[in-house]
């Protein structure tokens, strides 16, 4: 990343900050002109946006693709759900445990009676888990697709585990039918509104924190790890430490998101943390524009809003749609929604290129032969390869 790029980035950031403010303004005023149903939906999407921020930190900025963020979302969500479940059962055994013939509350459920413990657990459990997984993988230089596959297997393993442990985690039904959160009824409009704004505050806070990190020295190292990990190592930094840090950060964000998700949606089940939703989380970031924090928020909101509209109208089409979205965004639109403003310049570029296509064809042929098959694909801001130039 040379000096020229940096100034460009500085310039871009202001534009993005304006966009971020517009999004936050829209979210903050949404309860005024939207039905409570839609507002509740928006609250849910803000939780997703929080996850997307974390994924953007690790994928967009550090270049590690984690397909298992559903795990951290799920850990946070289950912690919160366990507390709510205990609140709902009034000191008795939670209903599903009674159905599975469990007689005594399992020991690991007991601390969740305390709301303070729950609030800490929501952040700490995902972070500790991420620290363990992260240090086991990154310190051993397991990276690239190997890490992707492992993270995917992780979400598969956890979901299978949760489904199998009917007696402890409610099995495939998950945890549901909550009544109160910290003493307030979950169904009352006031609680819902408070939760909505609470989520918004967390989203803004997380956005500010991530912006700060990205613009700090740590952020520079993260980007350097993404672009040239070995050079970072040769310069004396330990990429693994930074990777574990960013992995834990994104896990914490996902955990908080999960905890905010549960009281607003009223259910958490293994379907929400399995492979498919975990991979979908990545596409939110890709659609919005990776390595742009506001892009990930925008992507999460836009994709999920589209999802609910499309699947309300045509339930069958959604899967085609999201499938096509994956293909189209990665192949033709690697910059995501944020790069729309670059589109006119790009079109002009293509037209210019076409006029000088004859000489370009020769160079392209040479380039195509010279491609390196085993090189790590660098996540880069500028479109790479054939797909990008379309």
């Amino acid at each position: 990343m040379d000096l020229k790029n940096l100034t460009v980035r500085g310039h871009r950031l202001t534009g993005k900050n304006i966009l971020a403010m517009l999004i936050f303004l829209f979210l903050a005023t949404a309860p005024i002109y939207m039905s409570s149903f839609r507002v509740n939906m928006l609250g849910k999407y803000m939780c997703f946006a929080l996850v997307a921020l974390g994924i953007d930190m690790i994928w967009g900025y550090t270049g590690i693709l984690s397909l298992g963020h559903g795990v951290y979302f799920g850990l946070g969500a289950y912690c919160m759900a366990m507390h709510l479940k205990l609140e709902a059962s009034n000191g008795e055994l939670p209903d599903f445990m009674a159905w599975s013939a469990v007689e005594k509350l399992p020991a690991f459920w007991a601390p969740f009676h305390s709301s303070v413990f729950t609030i800490c657990a929501v952040v700490l459990i995902p972070v500790i888990f991420a620290a363990i997984i992260g240090s086991l993988t990154f310190l051993n230089r397991i990276r690239g697709v190997f890490f992707c596959i492992l993270s995917q297997a992780l979400s598969y393993a956890l979901a299978t585990f949760m489904i199998g442990r009917q007696e402890y985690f409610g099995g495939s039904n998950g945890l549901t039918s909550f009544t109160t959160i910290f003493g307030f009824s979950v169904n009352s409009p006031t609680t819902k509104m408070v939760l909505f704004y609470f989520t918004l505050v967390f989203l803004i806070g997380a956005f500010a924190l991530c912006t700060k990190i990205v613009n700090s020295r740590v952020g520079r190292v993260l980007i350097a790890v993404r672009d040239a990990e070995n050079r970072v190592r040769f310069t004396g930094y330990s990429p693994a430490v930074y990777k574990v840090f960013v992995y834990c950060l994104s896990a914490a964000l996902a955990g908080i998101a999960g905890a905010l998700y549960v009281p607003q949606v009223g259910i958490i089940s293994p379907t929400d943390i399995n492979i498919a939703p975990s991979t979908e989380m990545v596409i939110w970031v890709a659609v919005g524009g990776k390595a742009t924090l506001v892009g990930s928020i925008l992507g999460a909101l836009v994709v999920n809003f589209t999802k609910s509209i499309v699947s309300e109208q045509f339930p069958d089409i959604w899967q085609f749609f999201i499938g096509a979205l994956f293909i189209a965004v990665i192949l033709f639109f690697p910059g995501g929604l944020i790069s729309i403003k670059d589109l006119p310049a790009k079109v002009i570029g293509i037209i210019r290129k076409k006029s000088s296509k004859a000489d370009a064809a020769d160079t392209a042929a040479v380039n195509a032969d010279a491609r390196e098959p085993k090189k790590d694909p660098k996540v880069s801001r500028t479109p790479v390869g054939k797909g990008g130039s379309v």
Binding site: L136, I142, L150, L154, A157, L158, D316, L331
Partner: protein, 302 residues
């Protein structure tokens, strides 16, 4: 003990299916740097091809040669999935060479679309394929436990497929070209190997074997549009454990994942089995971050 042996044997047949699926994955990853998440859907397509062939066979052919449908189904599954693979390779995947992470996301999109296509055509409910009568017997081994003929057949099928791939890779000219391109693409290209053709062929063959794996899973139970997903994670774990680009790696990986899973499930519980396997894989990767068998290279950035 009998039950455990039985589990172990069942695990072996799962290993065989994983092996069939993982071979294609490992080779395409080694050769092109492509992670094909849609590979599971090739398995699914193979299974549905078997289903279609069976129904056509039932309608057209006389009843007494019904059992022979299976060989037609296997052939058809190979051809259909290889064709689908070929089309995908030409249309989409060749634009993604060397961009493993991008290819992973794109092929995930493809897999979602394929699932929905099949769901639209065949409906969301599971369908079942009846196995040929001569496989519906159990074979007693030493009076200890019974091996189901179907699972034995899957084992044999995997062994034969593996042998075929080994012969192709190590004894034919095309196989030599593929191995050359896998080790050093530019060098191979400058010595006259048509690497684009290698890629195409490898991808098609890899997909074809996934189709055969799909045929095999019709023996194990009913099939549905999402059946591929339940195998894809294990197939990828196989590749990760075994290493990329060597057949022996895939065999080892498949043995570990396929046999390890049921073994752990036997000693702990079904839900813990997957977690245990995950832990084992992480432990193995602590010592061999690139898998147990990997092609050695001095390059740092591979």
């Amino acid at each position: 003990m009998d039950l455990f042996l039985m589990q172990l044997f069942n695990g072996l047949s799962v290993s065989s299916i994983l092996l069939l699926a993982a071979l294609g994955l490992a080779i395409t990853f080694g050769l092109m740097g492509i992670i094909n998440m849609a590979h599971g859907e090739f398995i699914m397509i193979g299974a549905y091809t078997a289903y279609v062939v069976q129904n056509i066979w039932k309608a057209v052919m006389p009843e007494n040669i019904f059992d022979a449908y299976f060989f037609a189904a296997m052939l058809a599954a190979f051809i259909v999935t290889a064709a689908v693979g070929l089309i995908l390779e030409r249309l989409i995947i060749r634009h993604l060479y060397g961009r493993a992470i991008d290819s992973l996301l794109v092929t995930w999109g493809i897999s979602l679309a394929l699932q929905q296509t099949v769901r639209s055509i065949f409906g969301p409910t599971n369908v079942s394929v009846s196995a040929p009568a001569f496989l519906d017997k159990n074979i007693q081994v030493m009076g200890m436990f019974a091996m189901s003929g179907k699972r034995l057949f899957i084992l044999v099928m995997a062994a034969v497929s593996c042998l075929l791939i080994a012969v192709f890779m190590y004894k034919t000219k095309q196989g030599r070209n593929i191995r050359a391109a896998m080790q050093n693409r530019e060098m191979a290209a400058s010595l006259g190997v048509n690497t684009a053709k290698c890629d195409m062929l490898t991808f098609a063959i890899g997909s074809g074997f996934a189709g055969i794996a799909g045929c095999a899973i019709t023996f194990l139970g009913p099939i549905g549009p999402t059946i591929g997903q339940s195998y894809i994670v294990d197939a990828f774990m196989t590749v990760v454990v075994g290493g990329v680009g060597r057949i022996i790696g895939s065999i080892t990986g498949a043995a570990i994942i396929g046999v390890g899973g049921p073994t752990f499930e036997f000693f702990t519980s079904a839900s813990l089995g997957k977690v245990m396997i995950f832990i084992v894989v992480i432990i193995i990767l602590q010592f061999r971050p690139k898998g147990i068998f990997s092609i050695r290279s001095r390059a740092l950035d591979d």
